[in-house]
């Protein structure tokens, strides 16, 4: 898809997923790290719980299909090499405004799309805020609504703001690329990590000014329970009363009726008019709690896999609460071709990599490269892409530039 496109990524946690998406879509991505290693190499979890620059599983997860080089951008040589790589790049992906590229002759990047990710809005009242992933997610609006109402707000145990920013940056960079294709204009596209994270709160952003109820933690799970214990974990079964989705509820009611746990005559009501039927007393007011109680009993003796198959066959809205182990062994994902088996770079152990986030009719996302080991491609890129001699590259290493 993007196989004529060259991307230069100046690595930061928030650029990693963006660079990877562009690489997955076929771009040639070179990621630049400082000589002491990218910040992304110091994010847990680590291989076997032992830290090391080549042992971050977060790094491995978010840098496939890239070549990696080290370069000291503070040094005159580093800046000159950066300029030389930038001149050949279609897209430069970078965090903030301190990449040193701005000092270079702007002529070298005239045809390049710059995609820049700031923490908060540039020039805004929070532009100088100190922030980490946790801080950006706190500002997203999503955690305040996640979890149980009697406990603290819930955050993902995996950093998310950097994922939000990276994925949004891929969109922004490609919008810039398509603008160049259509209008012959190269420009800077810009986003903040906080703004990207905000989307995870979905329509909460427009709730505050709506005049409607503001919503609070527990609303998501409070109305009709959707989480059911089963033999090997939990099953999520959505009982929707939305008119366009209510036929799915009927499927669940018919299932528990056939299991002998719920009256057939109640399973067969006109679910689209559920509210008026209960208000008028034509069906018992307890129908919903009875249905939930029946589902609860039905789930207790079955596994996630059994319940998933039942839901699929009967057409009700349900999903296993999958653990990573479940996903790893999922036939659905495997049959679909989500995974590629790969030897983990530098370690050799075989791991399953879920990479095909989309299936194309005439393109396939492939694992062309494992995430680069520390400085793995420095010599290759400086020699082939920049045209430095072997002596020059050795000199740069001796002087700590690479």
């Amino acid at each position: 898809m993007l196989n004529n496109i060259r991307v230069l990524e100046i690595s930061a946690p928030e650029t990693m997923l963006g660079g990877q998406i562009l690489g997955d879509l076929g771009a040639d991505v070179v990621v630049i790290e400082p000589p002491h290693g990218a910040a992304g190499r110091r994010i847990e979890p680590f291989l076997d719980g032992v830290p090391g620059l080549d042992r971050s599983l977060t790094w491995h997860a978010l840098n496939r299909n890239k070549r990696g080089i080290t370069l000291n951008l503070e040094s005159p040589d580093g800046r000159q090499i950066l300029g030389s790589l930038a001149a050949k790049a279609d897209i430069i992906l970078e965090a903030g405004y301190d990449s040193r590229l701005d000092d270079l002759d702007s002529g070298v990047t005239a045809d390049t799309i710059r995609c820049r990710i700031t923490p908060f809005s540039r020039g805004g009242p929070k532009a100088s805020y100190r922030a980490t992933d946790l801080i950006h997610m706190a500002a997203s609006g999503a955690p305040s609504l996640a979890g149980d109402p009697d406990r603290q707000p819930l955050f993902f145990p995996v950093p998310q703001a950097m994922m939000e920013a990276g994925a949004e940056a891929a969109v922004a960079a490609l919008a810039g690329l398509v603008a160049r294709d259509r209008l012959n204009i190269s420009q800077t596209v810009e986003l903040s990590e906080r703004m990207a994270a905000l989307l995870s709160s979905l329509s909460r952003a427009v709730t505050g000014g709506s005049g409607d109820a503001l919503g609070k933690r527990g609303d998501d799970t409070g109305r009709v329970p959707n989480m059911y214990d089963c033999v090997d974990g939990f099953m999520l079964i959505s009982i929707s009363m939305n008119r366009s989705l209510v036929h799915l509820t009927k499927g669940a009611a018919e299932w528990v009726a056939d299991e002998g746990l719920f009256p057939h005559e109640l399973a067969n009501i006109d679910w689209a008019n559920f509210e008026s039927l209960t208000t008028s007393g034509k069906t018992p007011a307890s129908i919903m709690s009875d249905l939930v109680a029946a589902i609860k009993v039905a789930c207790l003796s079955k596994t996630k896999a059994e319940l998933t198959a039942i839901a699929h066959e009967r057409g009700f809205m349900a999903a296993p609460v999958a653990t990573m182990k479940d996903i790893h062994s999922s036939e659905q994902f495997r049959e679909r071709g989500l995974f590629e088996e790969a030897q983990l770079a530098g370690d050799g152990r075989s791991v399953r990599v879920p990479l095909r986030f989309a299936q194309f009719s005439d393109y396939s996302i492939e694992l062309r490269r494992q995430a680069p080991l520390f400085s793995q491609h420095t010599h290759e890129v400086l020699s082939e892409d920049v045209g430095l001699s072997s002596i020059e590259i050795q000199a740069l290493f001796v002087h700590g530039v690479i």
Binding site: M1, I21, E44, P45, D48, G49, L57, F120, K126, A131, T132, I135, A138, A139, G141, P143, S144, Q152, P153, L154, F155, F156, P157, V158, Q160, M163, E168, V171, A175, L177, V178, A179, Q187, V189, M195, A196, L202, S203, R204, V206, T207, G208, G211, D212, K216, T221, L236, S240, A319, P320, D326, I327, E331, R336, V351, P354, F357, A358, Q359, S361
Partner: protein, 403 residues
């Protein structure tokens, strides 16, 4: 200056969030987007709050306005033959088609990609199912971002170890998947310029969600450890790092001051309570996590959350209110970004919706407009896009095709 996608034509046959949000990205970038709807089987998003002024109604959902801003709506029964002819005209017109029927339903209705491609080889068509169209359960699996999140592994990671999982806020994959959908569409548009051919893109929302959780997946795939829900916020490798209670009902502030210079800044603000020399090293702070958190909670609990954020950030400490809806709408950062855009609509009057997340320096997004009312452009679209005469439209109305 033209917008990046000015002149691009998008047919949005999606509902709820993933398909329509993807189409909104394209609309904001200048595309002309037609949303195909049914009055009889309404987009469930129209029944989802928040509603303007708290009054329910199909035209009053601000979720719908946010996800569908700037589109025009045509209301049709597309299962009948005459309706089908209209859809095929729209397909011939379109550059991009986004659909989110249960996987396979679009084929059953006679709109398979194979067929549509024969009418329009340049068409880029995207399906956004929960599990995609292939695999054991792909076809026939209907769902929302709630079930998508469970399949993706997100739900199981969110909750307290001593209780059932609660999952993330809302239909989480609905916010994740559009980024992968739009990236794929834009890449396909880039390629189409070179090849003049479209393509079909089959997206599984659950698989997109998993991309945001890859470190957890690799923890199992490489280390054999199946990550579990932990409840409390913050990394186990950082201290202090988490959510701390503030004054008022359910008010919290996130503080992440594990790094040495941030810790020193925090000590300067909080003072005596953090002065124990045992807290002065990273290892010391990990070992004394509970004592530090107790001291911090004692400091934050009587404080107003936004005031605490000001005080901490002024001193250089990473901190932010755990924002709620009422915080977001007055948030100085969001206001500075001009993220809230005024819209005016005959049904709801003046309201605010959100603008695009990113900025282009030279070819900006188009102005944010309201979402359409159901079928508000049916006649114009049938005339101008499909080339139908008034008489033909009247016939379609009579036959119940135009809803």
């Amino acid at each position: 200056m033209s917008a990046p996608l000015s002149g691009l034509k998008v047919l949005d046959m999606g509902w709820l969030m993933v398909g329509p949000m993807s189409a909104r990205y394209l609309t904001d970038l200048g595309a002309h987007t037609i949303k195909l709807e049914s009055r009889k089987r309404r987009d469930p998003l129209r029944a989802l709050g928040p509603f303007k002024d708290g009054k329910q109604g199909a035209e009053r959902s601000l979720s719908y306005h946010m996800i569908n801003a700037g589109k025009r709506s045509v209301a049709l029964n597309i299962r009948k033959k005459a309706g089908r002819d209209v859809v095929l005209k729209l397909v011939e017109w379109a550059d991009v088609l986004v659909e989110s029927f249960s996987p396979g339903v679009i084929d059953e209705m006679g709109y398979s990609y194979e067929y549509l491609k024969s009418l329009n080889p340049r068409l880029i068509m995207v399906s956004t199912g929960i599990l995609g169209r292939t695999g054991l359960f792909g076809r026939g699996t209907s769902g929302t971002g709630i079930t998508g999140s469970a399949y993706a592994g997100a739900t199981g990671l969110m909750g307290w170890p001593d209780r059932k999982p609660t999952g993330p806020h809302g239909p989480w994959t609905d916010s994740v998947a559009p980024r992968f959908v739009v990236s794929s569409i834009l890449a396909a548009l880039h390629r189409r310029k070179l090849t003049n051919s479209g393509c079909y893109i089959d997206v599984a929302q659950a698989e997109c969600g998993l991309q945001f959780l890859l470190p957890a997946f690799l923890e199992f795939a490489a280390n054999g450890i199946d990550p579990v829900r932990v409840g409390r916020a913050g990394s186990k490798l950082r201290s202090p790092s988490g959510a701390f209670r503030c004054q008022g009902d359910d008010r919290w502030i996130a503080i992440d001051a594990s790094d040495q210079h941030d810790w020193i800044s925090l000590k300067r603000v909080v003072g005596e309570a953090l002065s124990d020399p045992a807290f002065d090293t990273i290892v010391g702070r990990l070992r004394q996590r509970e004592a530090i958190e107790a001291a911090l909670n004692a400091w934050t609990t009587p404080q107003e959350a936004t005031r605490a954020e000001d005080v901490l950030q002024s001193a250089g400490v990473p901190a932010h209110v755990v924002s709620q809806a009422q915080d977001l709408v007055v948030d100085a950062d969001l206001r500075h970004h001009n993220h809230y855009r005024k819209i005016s609509d005959p049904e709801i009057g003046q309201a605010e919706t959100t603008g695009p997340q990113f900025r282009l320096s030279l070819t900006p997004h188009v102005e944010t407009r309201p979402a359409p009312r159901i079928g508000d452009a049916t006649n114009e679209i049938l005339k101008d896009v499909c080339g139908l005469s008034d008489q033909a439209i009247a016939l379609l109305e009579g036959a119940g095709i135009v809803e």
